[in-house]
Symmetry: C3
Subunit: 482 residues, 3 copies
């Protein structure tokens, strides 16, 4: 049976009429503001080449671990979904894979993936029937046909989505050629990079050895010497800033920081690069590097983002067969109050430093993160992340952080996605959930309506520009001159 697909204008607003009216009014003012996406994982090659995408499966299913993790949890093999293993993409027919998704689409009821996909279907492709076994082929064909047209090329969609700025994430060991190509092309879309040095900072990273070698090549530094290693970071940070980066990103297992003396740090580094290190050494090195990188941020003004707390590649057998980032990362309990103290003891009162903290452990929102951000000038709270980037997750974030940290120690929304077509959907969800939260405060007479309107604008647009220094003349001399 075919079911209609129609996005309700009031979706995600409270059921209560009084609150719904307020939410609707707030949303009306922010719904069409430009999208700023200061942290994410889209592929800059898309915008460099502007080549068309191939088909629904390769664009929407095979790269989206939110989708295939759920299907996998219900016994569906990743091969059947077109997800590449260590030997590359399987010989699955994309249409067959799409049919599997379609016939199991009920599994996503109540999840954000369902909302995002429905938004993509309805708003990006203009469908009016829901995805199901019956409509699988129809959707697959229509998506394929659309993708072949100029209006669905990456740059055209970027413009249609109203994206003002999009940040990608590249490793310290990766070149920035695509970013160079985008700038050289004359296209006006603003795509910037982010400095993510995990592969050369985490000795337990699977690519550590090759990433270090590449890091040496790209910088011409002796990266196996402590001073050369630090100099290499400084060089690459400058390269990244030249490619538009205002921020760095650090995806460590924990939020641990350390404050070793220069000699201790150098000795530790020697253990690391000679392969004589224990897991405790690796943890200490990552911890010390957060502090070293904070020192560089004090120098060059780049905003640090810390994304800790994921136990990566938890499924041992899946990791062996399919490699990393296959939906098998599980959050862990995370401490911030002790973990960040060494870094904060050294730089906590530096006005040039700005650190945006993220978490996968919601029990830290009210207990640790809001109190930390509500005190330290250098700390801000990133939005609800990953598993918590969802209506309930965002609501809990506001409910558990606002009373202690306020709104102004938060930084707006991150979509943090590689699913480019879902970006408008994700920002729309965030705007709606924030408006719903503000509407409750207004309805309960905890905020005036004009304050809520100001805040809706800040949460959507103002705070992100400020937190990521998008108006900072040190990064954007042209903007300052204009």
């Amino acid at each position: 049976m075919k079911r209609p697909l129609q996005l309700n204008d009031d979706r995600l607003f409270p059921a209560d009429a009084r609150m719904r009216d307020i939410a609707r009014a707030l949303y009306r003012e922010v719904a069409s503001l430009p999208i700023i996406s200061p942290h994410g994982h889209t592929d800059p090659a898309w915008f460099a080449s502007d080549a068309p995408w191939s088909n629904a499966t390769e664009l929407l299913l095979a790269p989206d671990h939110y989708l295939y993790r759920m299907l996998y949890s219900q016994g569906i093999a990743l091969d059947a979904l077109g997800v590449p293993d260590r030997n590359g993409a399987p010989a699955t027919d994309p249409r067959d894979a799409w049919r599997v998704l379609a016939s199991h689409f009920h599994l996503f009821r109540g999840t954000p993936s369902r909302m995002w996909l429905d938004h993509v279907f309805a708003e990006v492709f203009g469908f009016d029937t829901a995805l199901s076994a019956e409509t699988a082929d129809q959707h697959f064909d229509a998506i394929g046909a659309a993708l072949a047209t100029p209006a669905f090329r990456p740059r055209a969609l970027f413009e249609r989505f109203g994206i003002e700025l999009l940040a990608t994430t590249e490793g310290a060991h990766e070149d920035l050629d695509h970013h160079g190509a985008i700038r050289a092309s004359g296209w006006k879309g603003r795509v910037v990079t982010t400095y993510r040095p995990d592969a050369v900072v985490d000795p337990e990273h699977h690519d550590f050895a090759t990433a270090m070698a590449r890091f040496a090549e790209l910088t011409g530094e002796d990266v196996y010497d402590w001073k050369g290693y630090l100099a290499a970071h400084r060089k690459r940070r400058a390269d990244f800033r030249a490619a538009g980066a205002t921020a760095t990103d650090h995806g460590h297992p924990t939020a641990a920081t350390a404050n070793l003396s220069s000699d201790e740090a150098e000795r530790l580094f020697r253990h690391i690069v000679t392969g004589n290190s224990t897991p405790a050494d690796a943890e200490l090195f990552r911890a010390q590097m957060l502090t070293e990188l904070a020192a560089m941020s004090v120098e060059d003004g780049m905003v640090m983002q810390i994304h800790p707390g994921s136990c990566r590649n938890h499924n041992h057998r899946l990791f062996e067969s399919h490699g990393r980032d296959k939906g098998a990362d599980i959050p862990m309990r995370t401490d911030y109050v002790h973990a960040l103290k060494p870094l904060l003891d050294r730089f906590g009162t530096e006005t040039r430093l700005s650190i945006i903290l993220f978490t996968l452990d919601e029990s830290t929102y009210a207990r640790e993160l809001a109190p930390l951000a509500g005190h330290y000038p250098c700390l801000k709270l990133g939005p609800a992340w990953w598993f918590h980037d969802s209506p309930e997750g965002m609501r809990r974030f506001r409910e558990m952080t606002t009373e202690t940290a306020g709104f102004y120690n938060t930084v707006g929304f991150n979509d943090d996605t590689r699913a480019f077509l879902s970006i408008p959907a994700r920002h729309d969800v965030a705007r709606r959930v924030d408006c719903a939260f503000l509407a409750r405060l207004v309805a309960e007479h905890r905020l005036a309506d004009w304050e809520a309107a100001e805040l809706a604008h800040e949460l959507t647009y103002g705070l992100v520009r400020k937190a990521y220094k998008l108006d900072d003349p040190a990064f954007f001399p042209a903007a300052a001159a204009a």
Copy 2:
């Protein structure tokens, strides 16, 4: 002053009219579905003998630790409530004990016990006045009179309650005579058992020595030899399957699992049975046994239930005077992400394995459990358990698990009770809370109404049948043949 007792038809539904209407409509379709109770602690002797219960105190108060823990917390001695100590039941007059409950019934305001008892009074006994000091005797007498009639015998109530299947829980060292008697009686009520081997798996269990001796007797195996011990488990699992069991249950202090080599496991076992083990050995043995029992589940298909995280018998003096299970068990912080990894490294991708996880630590719902169940094919989430088997607890369960694990990685409701008369009340609460949650999703345009209707049915009836393999021909050849 006597107060009326009347269960409102809209109880537990949202106050908001829009949501309430939706909840009411959803509930209407599931309210009278049969009850499946796949995990609980009722006494099979009741259904074997079908003997009448004696009086209100012995049926409703003295065995219910939810009730007497609250009264005890307010300074009332367990003796005054008819709760047995280590020497047996106290010489309290049951009517006096009932009066104590009645005159303190206000203490239960806002608790699920209050709701369950009111439901028992109104629906099972047909009372229209609330329990209070003034009505204590009237209720006591009326309950006593009812219990003496055939309509209130165990089997009659089982049928009246619309129970399709009821699972009890027996130890690996216990006989299954009552289950045999039920089947031999020709009565059609379906009462099955569950294999709970804690007393022979946990070296720190107070009954370990005697349970092991009995385990040996019942199986004819040398249970003090590692191979004999494992063989004994296999034999008893077969016995339990013959008594209808489709599941096992494991109530460990933590969720720790281990993956020792066969030699290491055997060596550890030797320490355990010779009494030369440390607390760390005991923990490692319990951990290893979860993995050994998972291996047996891969063979025989029995579903594993893991109920970790209770610090048993916290009140030292009460344990000395009254023994275990006296309302003095306190939840502890529980880790799953590291704890389960050894077992999952070995069996995480086995399609024959199914493990239902429970928790007393709600901070793990969104952080660990939903991500685990939303990835591993062998993992499912059990419902809100024990202290969280309550309207707010169930609501938090749905709010914190659904967005990551969806609805289809959950398994319906467990009443998990020894309070037989409260079973309809508990299932009714679960149905209402689920319908209220679904109603919010519909009202906020996150689900279509027809989807919510399908889900209400699944959460009430469909998922439990599937998760506990109640339609699996391996367990129920007759059902398959029919």
Copy 3:
């Protein structure tokens, strides 16, 4: 632009009309009940001298770490706010400091500080315009003028606020002269003290050495001898009881307790006082002292309050420059289930003992604290504390504790503040949030309306009198005689 300031009569009530009506009716009956403030940090000197306060900044801003922590987090120096550093108050003009607060008042949107201050402005000072850059001087002047009048002297406000009892907190090493002066003055306002011995119990307290010396002077005991030290505590407890104290208070980093033998305790004490102790010794000593002080409470009936879980003075540089209590305390994960066991093993069933537990770690509400208080006769739950003393925080407290501990194992509200003028605001918030919670239970047919009315009275007035033994003839012989 000037904005009106008007407290809406329905603030903090649910938006839903049905629930709002119920909340309003409940609130009407408790709104004007007397204020009992059984735990806080106001200065008894105010009531002893009844001297006028000086100006808005010195009264409302400079002592309020809720306010200046938020401003500091946004890059404003404490000096600019008139907050004293280790050398005393800065030479900031109070009017300038006030202007800084006023022009950044938007930072407090969504925080309890905003609500409290608005209440102070509207209700205590009668303002009808909101604080902002434009009104900063007007407010500063009007507050200054009011404070110079007799109606705004401490005692006059105490009476106007309807305070029935106010407890301050003094150290074991501090004299009680102000309390003596209050009693000697003939003024009828009831101001009592609370025994807080942290500075002589915590070897890591910055004032430990000087506090011990003063402890010796005040008691005439050899406090460096274990028996003398314990005797000194007993003497001072008697002094405090004579100054109206019914309670003690313990602000330890953790909730750890210990149950050492007398010899072990004495040996540990010797390490402590000879300065030969490790951090682990210090922790064990604090733990043992909770048990020793519990033993004294069994003797003298004083109620213990335990406030654990704050990582004090987290900002190292700020501590060096400005000292303690400067808004840099960050909550930590806190365990209760294991931590309290040694004390409970010894005294858990003592009917004379009463311990009120607080937490900064909300994940313990449903998991540990409600189960503990819902079992042990000696344990009660203190209200949502510090960072959680806020509408959302209080709501979570009720939602996560009520179903297991009920309402009657809680103790009413604590304002726990040094901001005297905010006391009516804080109690008003608590009454409104409790009425809103009860209204939901009534609207969802989980409580009868008459029960909710009884509970609203208990939560506001009845439970606090009972929990803090304010009607106990052992403490108040006069009350008993009357």
